[in-house]
């Protein structure tokens, strides 16, 4: 036990830890802990007052027990008492206990505020730092209320020690993130900006973080930081590797501070002042030049630190997106990294190039690396690197290289990791559509996708190929021929059967002239797959059959025979049964004219954003679609293939998310004045979430939940699914994102229905300005019996439900169901 001797002071603690380590079983450990807990409890309850040392030791033991995973329900008062000790070691244990346990006992906070106040006022830098660290670690609103006003004062006071300033800056940052309203901007802000000039690099390091956070919300107040940051950066970058002494890390001067300064600059557009800008460009060039110099050390720490700065520099260059020269240089530098032996660098280069590819200045330069990237896709061992390579290929794709990239991705798909197959499928589908010059290539590509990775071809993908084939009559014959051939394969994926069934049902007549694909052959080919398919596919095939009756009267008898079979008419599945019965009757009673009208070819689909693109964005976040969103780079291609071209006769009604079969709930703007109130009501429920969103503070949690405004604004993609829940059941979750969960519970009696909406706050901050509104379709409005109680926001703990009863007549609810 070499370390025991180092546990200076608290011998009893070291012995206890050793005991625990020597326990042979979990039971023995629990027994030992219970014994210790009993011992500590008796000491704390004893008549004899404990001295500071014992108190510290026992509190520390309790903390250790807590960290082992046991609940601690006493000892808090003793920990609080330690705070008022004037010995550092005792105070430290007290503060530590509170910082670690405070989650489970927020009552504690009120008890300790006084001790913290005293320490902040103590003028003892060690104690001040302890107190500041405690505030920063806990960061609760109560603490913000108590101390937010004091900390700026400490931060800018002339007599504060450097270490105190460092802690104060970050403490303030934490409070600001937790409750920005509690940190009023004021005279101190200007002085904070000037901390960028501070002699002490540690103070600058801490201050930059604070400024970066503050300036995001108040860019104008902090504008002056740009020139100060530039001059600081310039001094660091141009310094020799030994100038900064303590802050030189493996011969790299102040790497972390440089990175932070470069990140701060990314909060602003390029400096307007020519002198500042000139100085900055000089810095950026220096960093790029240094990347070419021979390394000053062979250690990986040296190159990592140097490249940390380089990558941040490149991010800034991309952020400015205005210096073609620098963009191309950045691209060349990254190109070198693509072949570097360090996997980390290859990974980061691929990632960084992805953003470069969307700049018009560097797109061409990125494209020159296509072979290397394709090679990375084939040979990298780490799946995350391969994934970055696939991302980059997607980002660098344009009309000149689309065929090559698509075929490489298709080839990769055959061996790709399962985890990323679906994403690759989506990307291929999008690229194929976007850059298709002749649509037979597009059809081939999608059918290849289904052949290679049928399981990963989502509905969106095969819906989309049907939309496009339906809308473009130049490709229909080819599509029919191709699917017919694809279906000849002995084993073909069910998605192929779906696409084949649909296309032959619509356009089978275009290939019926060839005796090899005559109507009976088409029918028997499809029907040979029928029994192996799922219900959904069989339902689709039944529709194909009835369409065949219209297209090819000669198949009528055969098909009627199939429909009439007991296995169809008495199918256990109600959907199949209904289709069989109805189609059979339709084919028997309707005249040829009626049949021709009812079963007419599908009209072209209205133009809209590709649902595949939406799906990919959902999967990968907004960055993913960049190559395609960026029409400015390649405007011509956008015009050609921006979407499915509607035929002139079509009224172009934009309904961005309505899917092919119209099953999904349309988003608010496109929602038709539906006869049912359901659509409206549900949409209103959803629109509550953006309404609640602006009130949220920029807490760290907000970011953790990754809910950028664009992320929670629009109706969620699963809306249809949730709508179904809502319509089909009396209770359930209507809506859920990272911030909010909305549940519904409803009950009905006679003509009355009562509905509760539960708003669960999933963040750890309070919602402010949270005001749900419900719009009632039609005459419902007059029947509301009670509105909600006070619009108090949900509490700060997750999922506290706030019931909001609404009552209305059942008649209206019929339309909901």
């Amino acid at each position: 036990m070499p370390a025991v001797s180092k546990g200076d002071g608290m011998r009893g603690l070291a012995v206890f830890i050793s005991d625990i380590r020597n326990c042979k079983s979990k039971e023995a450990e629990i027994k030992r802990i219970n014994k210790e807990l009993a011992n500590i409890r008796s000491k704390f309850k004893g008549d004899k007052a404990l001295d500071g040392y014992s108190k510290k030791k026992y509190v520390c033991k309790l903390l250790f027990i807590f960290l082992l995973g046991h609940d601690i329900d006493f000892g808090h008062m003793e920990a609080v008492n330690l705070l008022s000790s004037n010995k550092y070691t005792e105070k430290q244990i007290g503060y530590l206990f509170i910082s670690v346990l405070v989650n489970s006992n927020s009552e504690l906070i009120r008890l300790i505020n006084n001790a913290i106040k005293n320490d902040l006022a103590s003028r003892n830098p060690t104690f001040m730092c302890l107190a500041l660290h405690c505030i920063a670690n806990v960061g609760s609103r109560e603490m913000g209320e108590a101390f937010a006003a004091d900390i700026p004062r400490i931060l800018v006071a002339g007599d504060s020690m450097d270490s105190v300033k460092q802690s104060a800056a970050l403490c303030l940052l934490r409070l600001y993130k937790a409750s920005p309203d509690l940190v009023p901007m004021g005279e101190w802000t200007a002085r904070v900006v000037h901390l960028l000039n501070d002699q002490h690099m540690g103070v600058v390091t801490a201050a930059v973080s604070l400024i970066t956070c503050l300036c995001k919300k108040n860019p104008d107040d902090f504008k002056t930081c740009v020139s100060l940051a530039v001059s600081r950066l310039s001094r660091i970058v141009s310094s020799a590797s030994t100038d900064l002494q303590d802050y030189t890390y493996y011969f790299v001067p102040a790497p972390w501070l440089s990175v932070k300064l470069l990140r701060l600059l990314q909060c602003y557009p390029p400096p307007e002042d020519a002198a500042v800008k000139g100085r900055l460009v000089e810095c950026l060039e220096t960093v790029l030049n240094k990347a070419q110099e021979p390394p000053k050390s062979k250690k990986v720490q040296h190159s990592n630190a140097k490249n940390a700065i380089l990558f941040e520099t490149i991010s800034l260059i991309i952020h400015y997106d205005s210096e073609p020269n620098l963009l191309v240089r950045a691209c060349n530098q990254l190109g070198q990294f693509l072949q570097h032996r360090e996997t980390n660098l290859r990974y980061l280069a691929l990632e960084s190039m992805c953003t470069l590819a969307s700049s018009e200045f560097s797109h061409e330069a990125v494209k020159t690396h296509i072979d290397t990237v394709i090679n990375a896709l084939k040979t990298e061992r780490d799946v995350s690197v391969r994934q970055r390579a696939a991302d980059l290929l997607y980002a660098m794709c344009d009309r000149s290289n689309a065929k090559q990239i698509v075929s490489e991705m298709l080839r990769y798909l055959e061996t790709a990791d399962y985890a990323i197959r679906e994403e690759i499928v989506l990307k291929v589908a999008i690229l194929a559509e976007k850059y298709a010059v002749d649509y037979s290539w597009y059809v081939d590509t999608i059918l290849n996708l289904i052949r290679i990775a049928g399981d990963y071809v989502s509905e969106e993908v095969w819906y989309r190929v049907l939309q496009i084939v339906t809308n473009r009559d130049d490709v229909q014959g080819y599509a029919a021929k191709t699917v017919f051939e694809a279906l000849q394969a002995p084993a073909c994926h069910e998605n192929m059967v779906k696409v084949g069934g649909y296309i032959l049902g619509e356009f089978g007549n275009l290939i019926a002239g060839d005796p090899r694909s005559s109507p009976p052959v088409q029918f028997s080919l499809l029907h040979s797959k029928f029994h192996l398919c799922s219900v959904a596919t069989r339902a689709l095939l039944l529709s194909t059959y009835i369409k065949f009756i219209n297209l090819f009267p000669e198949t009528k008898a055969t098909i009627q025979g199939v429909l009439r079979a007991g296995s169809q008419l008495r199918n256990a599945d109600v959907e199949l049964q209904q289709r069989a019965v109805e189609y059979l009757t339709l084919s028997s009673v309707a005249s040829t004219d009626v049949l021709a009208t009812v079963l007419e070819e599908m009209p072209p689909f209205p133009e809209r954003e590709s649902s595949i693109l939406a799906k990919l964005k959902r999967k990968k976040g907004p960055g993913a679609g960049s190559a395609l969103d960026d029409s400015r780079r390649d405007p011509s291609s956008h015009d050609i293939n921006g979407g499915v071209e509607p035929t002139p006769s079509t009224v172009s009604t934009p309904s961005p998310s309505a899917d092919l079969l119209g099953l999904r709930a349309a988003p608010p703007p496109a929602a038709p004045p539906a006869p049912s109130g359901a659509g409206n009501l549900l949409v209103d429920v959803f629109s509550d979430s953006p309404a609640a969103q602006p009130g949220l503070g920029p807490s760290p949690e907000e970011a953790f939940l990754s809910a950028g405004p664009e992320d929670i604004g629009p109706p969620i993609p699963e809306a249809d699914e949730l709508l179904n829940k809502f319509v089909c059941r009396n209770n359930g979750v209507l809506f859920e994102n990272q911030l909010l969960q909305i549940g519904v519970k409803s009950e009905f009696r006679q003509n009355l229905g009562r509905m509760y909406l539960f708003y669960g706050n999933k963040t750890s901050v309070q919602f402010q300005n949270f005001s749900p509104t419900v719009v009632h379709p039609g005459d419902l409005q007059t029947h509301i019996l009670s509105a909600w109680p006070s619009p108090a926001p949900p509490g700060s703990t997750p999922m506290i439900p706030v019931p909001r009863p609404v009552t209305w007549p059942l008649r209206a609810l019929h339309s909901l169901r």
């Binding site: 036990m1 070499p2 370390a3 025991v4 180092k6 830890i17 625990i20 380590r21 042979k24 079983s25 979990k26 520390c60 082992l68 995973g69 046991h70 550092y88 430290q92 244990i93 989650n103 489970s104 060690t126 660290h133 920063a136 670690n137 460092q166 403490c171 940052l173 934490r174 690099m201 540690g202 801490a206 973080s209 002494q245 802050y247 890390y249 790497p255 972390w256 990175v259 932070k260 909060c267 990592n304 630190a305 940390a308 990558f311 996997t343 980390n344 780490d382 799946v383 995350s384 690197v385 994934q387 999967k619 907004p622 960055g623 760290p700 949690e701 907000e702 953790f704 990754s706 750890s764």
Partner: protein, 216 residues
């Protein structure tokens, strides 16, 4: 993800599972012992020893909605030190989690990080974040940051931290972190605060730590 990703938060928790659990520890052959120094001179580059022969690619833990959302926010979400067996030697959280969630994160991080070998990057996508990690002997030092944050800067921040620990504990080993857990927190607070890098100078940090050590 060995089930850790699938369980719901709700049904769990008859008392929290253990963060530190020492009993019955078995080391895989070739792993450094707990008492061994973690900063061996030859441990230099990316990650791990060649002994860590994990085969196939890890089950890419792009959890639910691993969207690379660029919110512009960038900070450390948590710092974890775990050994190969998954025992936590330090857990420092920079945002609120409840205890069950913490335990779940700890397990997920362990599952994601330990399957990677030296040829892999030191970065793993993790939920909506990324883990920057580095292995020293039997210990994994992991920092969870936002996706748009600077990978290499944190990778070296880990190393900087480890060098400070090594200096402070004179050839630090895993046991030092166990027996002096309360001091490790102090070291962390000197170097990282509120999810940001506070101080990067080893000299300054060590000077401060020695000063505190001398206090009573």
């Amino acid at each position: 993800m060995l089930g850790s990703g699938t369980g719901s938060f709700l049904g769990l928790s008859p008392g929290r599972a253990s963060l530190f659990f020492f009993s019955g520890l078995q080391f895989p052959a070739g792993c450094a012992r707990e008492g061994g120094r973690i900063l061996l001179p030859e441990v230099r580059s990316t990650s791990g020893s060649p002994n860590s022969c994990q085969s196939r690619s890890h089950p890419e833990a792009a959890g639910p909605g691993a969207a690379g959302v660029r919110t512009g926010v960038a900070m450390i979400r948590f710092i974890l030190i775990q050994n190969r067996a998954g025992k936590t030697r330090l857990a420092k959280w920079y945002m609120q989690f409840d205890d069950d969630e913490k335990q779940k994160l700890i397990e997920e991080v362990h599952a994601v990080v330990t399957v990677r070998d030296a040829k892999h990057t030191n970065f793993v996508e993790f939920r909506n974040f990324k883990i920057i990690y580095r292995r020293y002997a039997g210990l994994y030092f992991c920092i969870c940051v936002d996706v748009n944050d600077n990978n290499l800067a944190y990778l070296e921040a880990i190393h900087n931290f480890v060098e400070v620990l090594n200096e402070y504990f004179h050839n630090v080993c895993e046991l030092d972190l166990v027996f002096n857990f309360y001091k490790v927190y102090t070291v962390v607070d000197e170097m990282f605060l509120a999810g940001e890098i506070r101080e990067t100078s080893q000299t300054k940090v060590l000077k401060q730590l020695l000063m505190l050590q001398s206090l009573e």
